[in-house]
Symmetry: C2
Subunit: 731 residues, 2 copies
């Protein structure tokens, strides 16, 4: 990274991990990097002398509902629970045994026989969808087997209530790092139950008293772990970063029934084995249950935060682990009164997942973690490469919505052995603080307002298409690429739901993006059968709005269309039924505004098969394999753009920026604060009268760069470099 | 093609086209090729002296319901009709005009204002699916516009009754060949109406009297044209070789209501704009209407055939054009009493589409047609290539289920200018007659019995996945390839429907194949929600049967599965909802019985995205792009094979043969009557004590060939060659 001039060293806004027997080196690095806070980790404790340093704040991690085995082992009835589905088993005779624990890890999952299976469990005929009468099945508790009277060749599953008796995150660390029998296996417990409810507050107070030197209590997190279940070999079996499967209990169901007037069933949780994952259009029962859980969690989290405040400490939470019910974009988050949030930054999307939260402080943990799997001898280059990639991706997003603090995790002593890396993060911290100082209170100029429309809306801001946080998935990357592009683009981004559309909320934007696979929460499925939704969206575009559909936007087969907004998009997907209709529109335009900067092969990721243009009025921009991959279509005063998929790259980011400008009729705005070369991006801060050009690539780049008046100058930036330029008034 | 020894020339079983002013050459070619019949075509007449030739039968084409303009123009009220849909139009205000004729060809289509639109037409709100009250719209008959009171941003369409006033097949020939104003435009008429009903018999009788020299009356065909509609520029707009859109009339609807006790609506025909095409799972209303039409057509066709017989002539029908209602695999076909069927042979599938019909005589028209677009100077090589490709593909199928006659169409004088071609078809005719003589009464040995399961069953035998006869479609070729492979494979093939499965019919087979895209008639869609269907299929496999699923077999999203027979197949398709479940099975086996002969890159055609193995019990045979492309799975005593798609090729034919052997546990049968090289195929005729090895390629091939005992010998065949070998008793 480039420093234009070497200014006086700055300090602050940086948290580093501490460890025992590393005092002098810790002092040295804290000073070099200008760090002002030090933290412990899962598995490490801070030495006392580090806690005593002047001007260095102390972060103390705190596990609320795990890591208290003395209590938990005495209250196993209050351990966390799941509703889980057995394998789907095909009956071949009139009696079928289902070993419902098959595929689960006995050290994590244990059937809840404290509650009568006949009352709390369900056996389903998955061929008819019907629940079996309880007279038709019984449970062999010794063998964990359901014995079911079956119709031959129907498929059956058992939905059973189970204890989660080992915290899955600790389990993962435990098994991965081979911690061995001397480390306790954390039993998670559930504050729905009275002893646990009381205990968490008492334990926290005791801890606060015992840890007077901690300035920031870092909750990891509150009460309910996101869905994370392991298989019989202890390998990950099911993961949903947003999943509620580990929040359930008989008490919760009974409380819910009192509050909402109806009873939830095991199927409301098991959901055909899909467990209401992020991709399912949420049922009303699940929405109600989410709301119910979030209110409960917020109430109880607030009590803990209040307690922290009573001890004159700050309370922050980690975005992940036991964070279910505290989704920071939900309606109850503000009530908790947290002083900040902290989370892991893998890229631009995850940075904004943190920085967009309405909270007093946002801190991002950068990569790589100082762990032995990365920081081993000879791996210097890979370490530097990961750090640089992480920073350049994050920096784009930071320019739009900054973090208040950054930090690292792991073992400082490991990182210390890599001086080039230490030098890099020293420079990085300087660059970060310089950026922050300039833009902390300056709103960046936005070329356009973009709303991402899906079934979750604001609740899953920046979190659409996430399965496990930070992991690549085949069915996601072609959509996540769009979010990654948006994370650092000079547009204002909001996330809106179909309910917002129905209520005319969030439509004060220039462009609506709808993207995802058919029938998922992200494209929206049955929401597009609601006349209110489609008419409002059509009206929005007809009156001049822009609409960008990616993948299978508005898809649900009905009334002669697969894309319900085919009239707006000018394209539909052939699913077989309209093959008899000749399709004559197969010529892509020679050139187009949207693809004007394309210089390498187009990459639409997974692509969506068999999309075709409905009429000659559709501008086909990319056509291959007898399919439309990119198109535009005017609709009334507005305009739609269709893209088959868009993984993250510099070229695709540019393509999306142009698509937004085109869809919103802002072509003329493109050349303001704009770099010809797509490796560079420009962010302007009108109230500061300056703009910043960043190089997102590792290459030295020379490019024309346009100012706010559209006047060009030639600039050269080194790899990953950045430069601040003064805005000059127009002639 | 190779002749082993030059035997005495044979004669017969061959029809050639005749034309005027070509008498001597016609005699010469008839003699050289041993032809025993001569025919006229659309646009040509046979000269009298050709009709008088000894030993040469005369075929006379006969148009039943077109080509009689003197009558038709006097009875325009009885012209053929359609229910058609206007474009789908999005309302932007409270009154919307739909120019319903937009996109139609005024010379073909004319609104039927003889029947009150308010009674016979329908305006639909395609956003809600509702029919509009007739008070909400009116028709401007001068401008052909519907004026509709609309909800802004709802989508509307008009389903209107229209006359078809120009026969679309003649129109196509007319426009393509630029026939000009002196040729009459054939007006098709509808025998539902009394004058036409009477007229067709009188006209035929007059024609029979006027054409005493005709031996075979070739009906082209009977009364109703398959769906073929042109656009405003006279280009094909909609084509469905099996389509019933041109059979409708107010009289038909009234008769139907009397017979079936309920009234059909325009939507029963328009079907959201899909017009009940071959790919739609047929509604009960459409099935009823098909039955109603087929019975009517059969009754009236029988009268014409009887008339032909009264004049001591034979009656045959052409498979196509006005053939709707005479589907030869339907229940009423036999009643008609036809003496034979004739159709165009484009490949193995279309050969068997003809040869599998239960009729006394089957004749195939081979390619290329002797038309100027092919038979032009300098095109010798392409002509020969097309003829050879056509013959080698057809010959495979012929070995399984022979045609009784072959023939050519077009202008003999054109073909005459290409002596190499004439020589080729002379040899071809000899080879054909030799094959026919040997196998006409000999049933070929079948390695296995295969049933193709779809929503149509027997009714569309060999006709599944056809849009326009003989044309390539992107969403079809990966399935049609399977049929093409089967057409020449040593297996017995039947076509069964879900109703057959429900009634336990057709399950006396070794392997069931279910193939097609999700939700189409070919994969079966909602049929797989019927417990009776899935339990019988599961039972079939569990008790030892084989099941081969191709593309999206048994696909319909329900109860946690996309493939409803995922338990049988061992694979399912990820559509987004189960991404949270880890998928660990991604290793293909190093080798497998099914792919043992693979020697070039696997080609699964369009492939089906995101198929994954459900458990370690699934044998993954081909895995690429993080997807299962080929797999096998044991289920009870039986076995399933999944293939993502299978375009036609020698390698894929072999792969399918092996998949059938594997699925049916007949691995040991594979090496009987078998050639190592996949370009060769072996057909055995036990009752004749001989077997035939054919070379389907243009290459000389040397290969091990196994006899019925599995004993190998090395054979060399020239390109496209064949050899007959005597069966020797086992040791």
């Amino acid at each position: 990274m480039e420093q234009q001039t070497k200014p006086q060293k700055t300090r602050g806004h940086l948290t580093l991990p501490g460890e025992e027997n590393f005092y002098q080196e810790t002092l040295e690095i804290l000073d070099r990097l200008g760090a002002d806070a030090i933290r412990d980790s899962d598995g490490t404790e801070l030495p006392e002398n580090v806690k005593d340093l002047d001007g260095v704040m102390v972060y103390g991690k705190y596990f609320t509902a795990r890591g208290h085995n003395a209590f938990a082992s005495q209250h196993l009835f209050e351990a966390s629970r799941y509703y889980l589905s057995s394998d789907f088993v095909t009956a071949s005779g009139e009696e079928t045994e289902i070993a419902f624990m098959s595929g689960y890890f006995a050290q994590q999952i244990r059937p809840d026989y404290d509650h009568d299976p006949q009352k709390w469990w369900e056996v389903r005929d998955r061929t008819t969808g019907e629940v079996l009468d309880t007279a038709l099945w019984k449970i062999d508790r010794n063998q964990n087997i359901a014995i079911i009277q079956t119709v031959p060749f129907h498929v059956y599953s058992v939905s059973f209530l189970a204890y989660g008796i080992w915290d899955p995150v600790q389990m993962y660390n435990y098994l991965t790092n081979d911690w061995g029998e001397d480390v306790e296996k954390h039993i998670p417990f559930d504050i729905r139950y009275p002893e646990s409810e009381k205990y968490v507050e008492e334990a926290l107070e005791a801890w606060l008293k015992a840890n007077p030197k901690v300035d920031f209590v870092r909750f990891t997190t509150f009460f309910y772990q996101f869905s994370l279940v392991f298989d019989q070999e202890g390998k990950e079996k099911y993961v949903d970063w947003y999943g509620y499967t580990n929040t359930v209990s008989p008490k919760a169901l009974e409380d819910f029934e009192r509050a909402y007037g109806y009873r939830l069933t095991p199927e409301d949780f098991v959901d055909e084995g899909y467990y209401n994952c992020n991709f399912r259009v949420p049922s009303q029962a699940f929405r109600d249950y989410q709301d119910f859980t979030a209110r409960f969690v917020a109430q109880h989290a607030k009590r803990l935060v209040d307690l922290v405040h009573q001890y004159n400490k700050k309370a922050i939470m980690f975005l992940g682990d036991h964070w279910i019910g505290v989704e920071p974009w939900g309606p109850y988050f503000a009530e908790i009164g947290l002083d900040g949030v902290v989370g892991s930054v893998g890229d631009g999307v995850t940075l904004r997942l943190i920085s967009s939260i309405e909270a007093p402080m946002h801190e991002g943990r950068f990569l790589p973690y100082f762990f032995p799997d990365t920081f081993f001898e000879g791996n210097d280059e890979a370490i530097l490469a990961e750090a640089k990639d992480n920073w350049t991706k994050a920096r784009r997003a930071l320019m739009r919505e900054p973090l208040d603090r950054i930090g690292y995790g792991g073992y400082l002593s490991l990182a210390y052995k890599f001086p080039d890396f230490i030098q890099y993060i020293e420079d990085l911290a300087e660059e970060y603080r310089d950026i922050l100082a300039r833009i902390e209170h300056a709103k960046p100029r936005q070329m356009a307002k973009v709303a991402v429309l899906n079934a979750w809306g604001k609740l899953r801001s920046w979190g659409s298409h996430i399965v496990a946080h930070g992991k690549w998935y085949k069915l996601c990357y072609s959509y996540l690429g769009v979010l990654e592009a948006l994370a650092g683009m000079d547009v204002e981004v909001s996330f809106i739901s179909f309910d917002d559309v129905r209520a005319d909320l969030g439509l004060d934007c220039d462009v609506i993006i709808n993207m995802g696979d058919a029938y998922t929460a992200f494209s929206g499925a049955e929401n597009f059968l609601d006349p209110e939704v489609v008419t409002r969206l059509r009206q929005f575009v007809h009156q001049g709005g822009g609409f960008i559909g990616i993948g299978e936007p508005s898809a649900i087969q009905a009334q002669g269309r697969f894309f319900q907004l085919a009239d707006v998009l000018g394209v539909d997907k052939e699913v077989g039924f309209s093959q008899s209709t000749d399709k004559y529109f197969d010529q892509a335009l020679d050139q187009h505004f949207i693809t004007a900067d394309v210089h390498e092969a187009l990459d639409f990721g997974e692509t969506t098969a068999n999309v075709y243009a409905l009429s000659a009025e559709t501008e086909i921009i990319a056509y291959a394999n007898q399919e439309v991959h990119l198109a535009s279509h005017d609709f009334g005063q507005g305009r739609a753009v269709y893209i088959t998929g868009l993984p993250y790259s510099a070229q695709n980011t540019r393509l999306l920026k142009r698509a937004i400008a085109y869809a919103s009729h802002k072509e003329v705005e493109l050349n303001r604060y704009f770099a010809q070369d797509d490796r560079l991006e420009v962010n302007a801060y009108p109230t500061r009268g300056e703009y910043c050009v960043i190089n997102n690539s590792a290459d030295q780049v020379t490019s024309l760069v346009y100012d706010g008046q559209g006047r060009a100058q030639k600039l050269t930036l080194p790899g990953a470099g950045l430069v601040w330029l003064k805005d000059v008034e127009g002639r």
